[in-house]
């Protein structure tokens, strides 16, 4: 971004500093959260940001710190829109997932931002360095803070260690709607993690095709929230995607026990059993699914397939003991 524009934007900011308050900073002053007074994540690398390339550079810094080294140049085609001379926030999240990292959108809270920094997680922030009517959007990476001094530390633009008053930061951050995100290894939980937000981020990772990372993220979620249905089903589905039908079965079974009213848990359990040729158990699960969702075409199809597989076989009733007919199971259980 042009220095002159930045300077002009900051000047205007100073002129307007008295106009708007800093409610979040005021709240921090009122009731300081239990945080260390100073934090600086010095290990976060610095990639100087060329004009308009603040998005890729900020991502590269956070990703490299998270253990996925990448250069801003490699990320530019993924997040940079030449016609708009910038990057969309949603694409910042998407690019993070493509790197096998969990993209966690932070709540719009200064206290949450500081809490993540204290937990050792650098935070990518979107600022509007200009005005609401004349925006000058800018991505930067928050790497620390100093509460007694009321400052935030940023890797920003061409400055490796920018010291910005928290009040100024709040003004510039407020105009982006307090947008902030984390790029985390999938085995790490954000310090401020909210259940539904975290699980949704894990689902997004699975949908981006990062099955292994998504599976890890589901495990991370379940370690904290063992009863989460979506995470349990996601664990089963990612295990199935990797051909591990025994782990898939275990996850779907747990889901069906924790949430007996969910037909999808029984349906998927039936499939995991079918894949292991345990037809009788599969039949039972499929009947549960259809009983919970009568007329559901997908559940009906599951039942039909199992019945079709059982029909020609016609085993002598009671003649089969619990045999483990495993076959084609490429991955040994975990």
């Amino acid at each position: 971004m042009a220095k002159a524009r930045l300077g002009a934007g900051l000047l205007l900011l100073l002129l307007l500093a008295g106009c708007a308050g800093t409610p979040q900073l005021d709240a921090l002053r009122q009731a300081a959260p239990a945080l260390p007074p100073r934090v600086e994540l010095t290990a976060v690398p610095f990639f100087p940001q060329e004009s308009h390339q603040c998005g890729p550079a900020s991502l590269a810094m956070a990703m490299t710190f998270a253990g996925r080294p990448v250069t801003p140049e490699a990320l530019t085609p993924r997040v940079y829109l030449p016609a708009r001379e910038g990057s969309l926030q949603v694409e910042m999240l998407a690019a993070t997932r493509r790197q096998g990292l969990l993209a966690y959108p932070l709540a719009p809270s200064l206290a949450d931002l500081l809490t993540e920094l204290a937990a050792g997680h650098p935070v990518i922030v979107l600022q509007n360095l200009g005005l609401a009517a004349l925006p000058l959007w800018h991505y930067a990476v928050a790497i620390g803070y100093d509460l007694p001094q009321e400052t935030l530390l940023l890797r920003s633009g061409l400055t490796a260690r920018e010291v910005m008053p928290l009040a100024t930061f709040e003004h510039t951050w407020a105009r982006s709607g307090y947008w902030a995100m984390l790029a985390l290894p999938p085995d790490r939980l954000p310090a401020t993690a909210r259940e539904s937000v975290y699980v949704a981020a894990a689902v997004a990772l699975e949908q981006a095709g990062e099955v292994e990372a998504a599976q890890t993220a589901y495990r991370t979620a379940l370690a904290r929230w063992p009863g989460n249905f979506l995470a349990r089903m996601g664990l089963g589905n990612t295990a199935a995607a990797r051909g591990d039908w025994r782990e898939a079965e275990a996850a779907f079974r747990q889901a069906s026990l924790d949430h007996p009213g969910e037909w999808t848990a029984h349906n998927n359990l039936a499939w995991a059993l079918m894949e292991q040729k345990r037809w009788r158990e599969a039949l039972e699960a499929a009947r549960q699914a259809i009983a919970l969702s009568p007329g559901n075409p997908q559940a009906a199809e599951t039942l039909r397939r199992i019945e079709a597989a059982l029909a020609p076989q016609a085993p002598a009733p009671g003649g089969r003991k619990r045999r483990q007919e495993r076959h084609g199971d490429p991955t040994p259980g975990t």
Partner: protein, 129 residues
Amino acid sequence: MNSRFLRLTSRFALAVMLLITLPLQTAQAGLVTTGDIVREQANDRQRVAELLDRAEVRAALEARGVDMNEAKKRVAALTDEEVALIAGKLDEVPAGGDVLGVIVFLFLVLLVTDILGFTKVFPFTRPVR
């Protein structure tokens, strides 16, 4: 273009996007995917990807310096929620750059909807069907 025009046209574009993604729900055998469980409609994504496949759209995007393969991968990596966000809030999503780009982006969406025959904003477009 004033902001009122932008707001009107973007709302219209949102309505169109919602309309074309409503139908089409086919039954399929197998595991219920996590995405299905979240009740998200994978159709959104497919339709956005299909739009990118059209020659006119491709040309317009490439003229703006967007690589088509990258554009498709971007769509693939977005969540359904985000696809809907892009479709519906084009004029409100800020990029780390110029505000003029928003207008250009909106222009592209209207171009796409024009080409598909849902709108008729530009005189030079001809619907494909």
